[in-house]
Amino acid sequence: MTTGRPLHLAAEIGGPPRYEPDHYLGLARLAEGGALDYVTLGDSFARPGPDALSVLARIAPATDRIGLVPTVDTTHTEPFHVSSAVATLDWVSRGRAGWTADVSTTEAVARLFGRRAAAPAEALWREAGEAADAGARLWDSWEDDAEIRDTATGRFIDRDKVHHIDFEGEAFSVRGPAIVPRPPQGRPVTVIDGTTATARAVAARHADVVHVRATSPEQAAAARADVLRLAAAHGRPARELRVLVALAVDLGDAETAPEPGLASGPPLAGHGTYFRGGPVDLAELISQWYRAGAADGFHLTPITPARDLERIVNGTVALLQHRSLFRTFHPGHTLREHLGLARPASRYALARTAGEQR
């Protein structure tokens, strides 16, 4: 069975820490050459490496189409700063920004800030949901046509189209409006790893793309159905979300492996199910799962980025393209266009025009 839905592919470009931009640029360009939807760059305050959002901003002008999705901590950061930085990544990349919202549960990270003690994941994920919600409201707080430059009246903006958000959450409040005008995508793409039940509930409500883990097409389909059911409870139709299966991949040195398969190697925490095999084996798995309608796509984390990403693009992706299962070029410019996600209207614009019509 084919689903009729386009296949989406993304790849992680992190790995052992590197501090020079060309390393990351090379990987992002490789992924861009394979017409992948986006690259992710994982991050944490507690492990060696540069700030992920900064790295992706650094390579944005040197890339053209690939979506750029850094991991951003919502526990020890200011939601206002986070929303400004992600919106700015969207401006400097001309509509290719996303962010993976994540939490920090450990005492080790808390001590780096000395501001608050470590807290249980459930509370932190509720807070992450609030950060995503406040961020989306800030991105909406300037309507698209707020800047008017009306020389006759001397007004640069139409103040009726720039809104306070007055967000009041359990963990923080934000008055708004944003400093950064509404970004090119309206709202940059929000990605959340929905592996745990707590994170999945938040993802279903606030994320555009949800990463899940599965070891079989049936399990993937069930996870996808679960995400969509939870999303529907918040009034979100399936067309507003994409569910990608997260796989850590070790493509070895051969085209195919004697015994390709899932979880046949060491499990890798945090990066999905472990797949070991050749690039052809991976293409086979993706084809089968995709044809079974188990997922909207895959987020692949190469175990050895420089080697495995090259094999993903030139082996796996090339084969999927040859089978007409994956596009050969980016038909659009923005990450939302790659993902087939509509550009959302500002909620404040909708509310205002609804009010005007009454």
Partner: protein, 426 residues
């Protein structure tokens, strides 16, 4: 002489009504201005910061250019399209945490090959605090003690890896911060990013003398500049620093035309556009703290007194003594026979170099020779082409005079500024 370019993003600096005025937010504008600055061999490119849109009487201010991107993200992107230009971001030490900010600046320094600078500013008002977890509770008196400890903590983090790249734990316990753990980046190409301090208060000058590499200031005349210069440089010895360890760079505008007369006319025209009739009344309302919209900007000053603690004053720049300012403005208006708008133009005009390229080059050189400044941060009035004239017409003259470099001699901002790399204190 050192030169920097200020991106003239927002507020009343830019003349957005000029047909040549472009976007203050598209990356192309930043790229154009930064590339122009680098073509002119400038030391660095400078971005200001805003954390709350200005408001008057509970409504968003709508008369000036407003809306800007987040500085560090823009500078990382600019690192991709420039090679030598220093990249300076203004980031508030009140609404941030040392670990996160030290990490972001160290990242910029690594990703730009040693071109990062941090302009440390402070803020304490509850109005800005409404956008943050921290809120607005910080006492004014604590602003600089927090900023000083903030910078010191960042430097501990920047020094925490050994020169051979081994992370070592940091433990800092002070009045404002209590942090421990390992930093995530090795020492950056400049050792530490350059630290800039902006502001003119006594505490600000002392903080700059103790901890900054550059001070971003403004003063109206050569004489005021010389006094400031002598005062700040005189404070360095107490911290074991030499006079060359802190560069003094006032923000200035330069208006260039074929002749001095033409340039003067042009500069006056720009000021009239910057201080529109509406903006003149607004400037008055800032001081008076009340609604003055019924007054004629081309007429005389209001007879009523300021009302500084009114609700109306919420969200605006605080004026320390509005009665004194009002009295000064009134006196100036009466003495010279100026209208409200003309008075505002006169009292808000900053240090300017106006004239033919020869005149501007000579005056700027004179300022440096007479120890009124070590260089300048140019604030153009147009985005993004406002630096083109200066770079094309004045910079070559400065280079001919031997007052300014013709080529970069190094690749880091510290090299451009003639600042030594900080000694590693592991």
């Amino acid at each position: 002489m050192h030169l920097a370019a200020h991106f003239p993003g927002v507020n009343s600096t830019t003349v957005w009504s000029d047909p040549r005025s472009g976007s203050q937010i598209d990356f192309a504008s930043f790229e154009h201005l930064a590339r122009t600055a680098e073509r002119g061999k400038f030391d660095f490119f400078f971005l200001a910061e805003g954390l709350r849109l200005r408001e008057y009487d509970g409504r968003v201010h709508d008369l000036d250019v407003v809306g800007r991107p987040e500085s560090l993200t823009v500078l990382n992107a600019l690192a991709a399209v420039t090679d030598r230009l220093g990249l300076a971001a203004t980031v508030n030490a009140t609404f941030n945490e040392p670990y996160e900010l030290a990490r972001r600046f160290a990242t910029l320094d690594h990703l730009s090959g040693g071109r990062a600078a941090w302009n440390v500013v402070t803020s304490s008002d509850a109005f800005t605090g409404e956008n943050f977890r921290r809120g607005g509770f910080l006492d004014r008196a604590d602003r600089y003690t927090r900023a000083a400890e903030f910078v010191a903590t960042a430097r501990e983090l920047w020094d925490s890896w050994t020169p051979d790249g081994t992370p070592r734990p940091v433990a800092h316990r002070g009045q404002h911060f209590d942090i421990s753990g390992e930093f995530t980046l090795p020492r950056s190409p400049q050792g530490h990013p350059v630290v800039i301090q902006a502001g003119d208060s006594d505490e600000g000058r002392e903080f700059a003398a103790s901890a900054a590499d550059v001070i971003f200031t403004r003063h109206g005349t050569l004489e005021a500049g010389r006094t400031f210069y002598a005062d700040v440089k005189g404070r360095l010895a107490a911290y074991g620093r030499g006079p060359d360890d802190l560069k003094i760079m006032p923000g200035v505008r330069a208006v260039v035309a074929d002749t001095d007369e033409e340039a003067q006319e042009h500069a006056a025209g720009i000021r009239r556009l910057q201080v529109s009739p509406q903006n003149a009344i607004l400037a008055l309302e800032q001081v008076w703290g009340r609604d003055l919209s019924s007054y004629d900007p081309d007429g005389p000053f209001p007879a009523i007194d300021p009302e500084p603690d009114s609700e109306f004053a919420q969200g605006r720049v605080r004026i320390a003594d509005p009665f004194a300012v009002a009295a000064r403005w009134r006196a100036l208006s009466e003495e010279k026979g100026l209208s409200i708008r003309e008075t505002v133009i006169e009292t808000t005009t900053r240090q300017s170099f106006v004239g033919s390229p020869e005149t501007v080059a000579a005056e700027m050189t004179d300022f440096v020779d007479q120890r009124a400044a070590d260089g300048f941060i140019l604030v153009p009035h147009l985005t993004p082409g406002g630096l083109d004239d200066f770079v094309d017409r004045v910079v070559p003259l400065l280079q001919e005079r031997g007052a300014f470099r013709s080529e970069y001699t190094g690749s880091t901002l510290r090299t451009h500024l003639g600042l030594a790399e900080p000694v590693w204190k592991g």
